[in-house]
Amino acid sequence: MARYAIVTDLNRCVGCQACSAACKTINGVMPGDFWIKTLRIGPTPKEGGSGDWPDVEMYFLPIQCQHCEDPECVKVCPTQASHVTEDGTVQIDKDKCIGCQFCAMACPYGVRYLNEEERVVEKCTLCQQRTAQGELPQCVAQCGSRARFFGDLDEGLESFQALAPTHDLATPYEEMMQNRTTLGEWVEPFTEADVYHLTDTGNGPKHCYILRNRKWQGEE
């Protein structure tokens, strides 16, 4: 069983919202609903600084379903509509969902919501329709600053992949989409201490965030 996840290098993320837009486009997410949002965290006064600009720091934080190791949303689902699949992602079988919304209440990150049209709960699927065919999640593929990488945690963060630049404008789109680089090849060096997760209430969020030389805001 794989443990698919996304790693975001927050030192690279510029908060362009391309991930949100790409996600909404490919997954048909309704206006007003989001499977991924990018928040601006800060500006926060630097420790030991004057408290005013330029002694401040900030970063952008893309938030989506964290496809947790021990997801509370799955535990509370009465029909097992919410379930963990073989690739380690949390998915919703919409035909089984009775719309009780207990999963939305149980999610620590509030990323689940009721689709008012279908009257079932939905959230990020980690683009299962794409990853099952060897493609990257759309938020990773369309990341404007190549800050996001997709892969299997069992293979190590260094192996996570993103699309690589071709620099040849004549490259066909299909070929471009197969051109890959890895996090190990592409990003600045980082240590284990630079890797963060969203607040863990025992659910074990899988997505990782790399943040160097800045203070991670909020509890892990």
Partner: protein, 290 residues
């Protein structure tokens, strides 16, 4: 979180149903209030059914309820099991009451089982809302608040039914006073427990969600029952529960449980509904930024 009225009614009515059944089992164990036993059982059953119907209005696709329903780790499944078990015991209780005729006696073991199951149902129901994601909900005192409501509802309803059946009993006064005091204590305890979770949320000094640029994302006191918009409802919950205690003492003094029993029921109902409103108003995710 938005107020989930079907769930508010479900939890309140189930606490009421369990309270009445538990109280009548207590009466049966002490050999009291025999003429009120059947009306109490009917009242409890009706409340259970109405509460069950109310919860269906929360489900967006109730017609799929048997489409794989039964995941045991789910609080909803556990609630359903507890309700079915209690309903079965209520049917057995009904059979014994019918067989007993005017004496309306049930075996002590059945009354004891009924009392335990009434407590279990309320505990299971409260436990299904204990979620680490929502600090204000994740407290055993949240279960305690529902048990408190059951302790308030049950004896007060039994007091009315006993009075209607001309069973003016000292036992009614004693049980009702204790029930109302337990309720007010547990209401206070849960409000304090909710207030104490204020520092449990992930804190970020400055942040901005570009998809909601004009939204007041964290208005003051949103996670606190004793400030902001929640405060009036907390005060109502508290005052109504306290009025229930006062009503029980007045009923005891005047020995008029038709009126003062009903006053106690009304007070507990207002208190329980107000507390559940506070419950949803403070139902904020531990990571409240999405």
């Amino acid at each position: 979180m938005e107020l989930q009225w079907p769930l508010i009614l479900f939890t309140t009515l189930l606490a009421w149903a369990a309270g009445v059944f538990g109280a009548q089992c207590l009466y049966a164990l002490r050999g009291q209030g025999t003429r009120a036993q059947m009306p109490a059982l009917i009242t409890s059953a009706v409340l259970l059914v109405v509460g069950g119907i109310a919860v269906f209005f929360h489900l967006e696709h109730w017609e799929r309820i048997f489409n794989g329903f039964g995941h045991l780790s789910s609080g909803i499944t556990q609630e359903l099991i507890a309700i079915v078990v209690l309903a079965v015991v209520m049917v057995v209780y009904f059979v014994y009451l019918r067989r007993g005729g005017d004496e309306a006696k049930v075996p002590a073991w059945l009354a004891a089982v009924g009392l335990v199951l009434a407590v279990v149902l309320v505990a299971v129901m409260g436990h299904s809302y204990m979620m680490a994601s929502l600090p204000a909900w994740d407290s055993v005192l949240q279960i305690g608040s529902l048990l408190g409501a059951a302790c308030g509802f049950g004896p007060a309803t039994m007091a009315v039914l006993c009075a209607v059946k001309d069973e003016s009993l000292d036992y009614t006064a004693k049980v009702n006073v204790i029930g109302q005091i337990v309720n007010v204590v547990l209401v206070v305890a849960y409000l304090v427990a909710m207030q104490a979770t204020v520092g449990a949320y992930t804190q970020v000094d400055f942040w901005f969600d570009p998809t909601q640029p004009t939204m007041d994302i964290a208005p003051t006191g949103v996670t606190e029952p004793l400030s902001g918009a929640s405060l009036p409802f907390s005060v109502v919950a508290l005052i109504a529960a306290a009025c229930g205690v006062a009503g029980a003492f007045v009923g005891k003094a005047k020995k008029d449980w038709k009126v003062w029993g009903a006053v106690c029921v009304a007070c507990v109902l207002v208190s329980a509904l107000a507390l559940r409103v506070v419950f949803y108003m403070t139902g904020i995710s531990i990571y409240p930024f999405f």
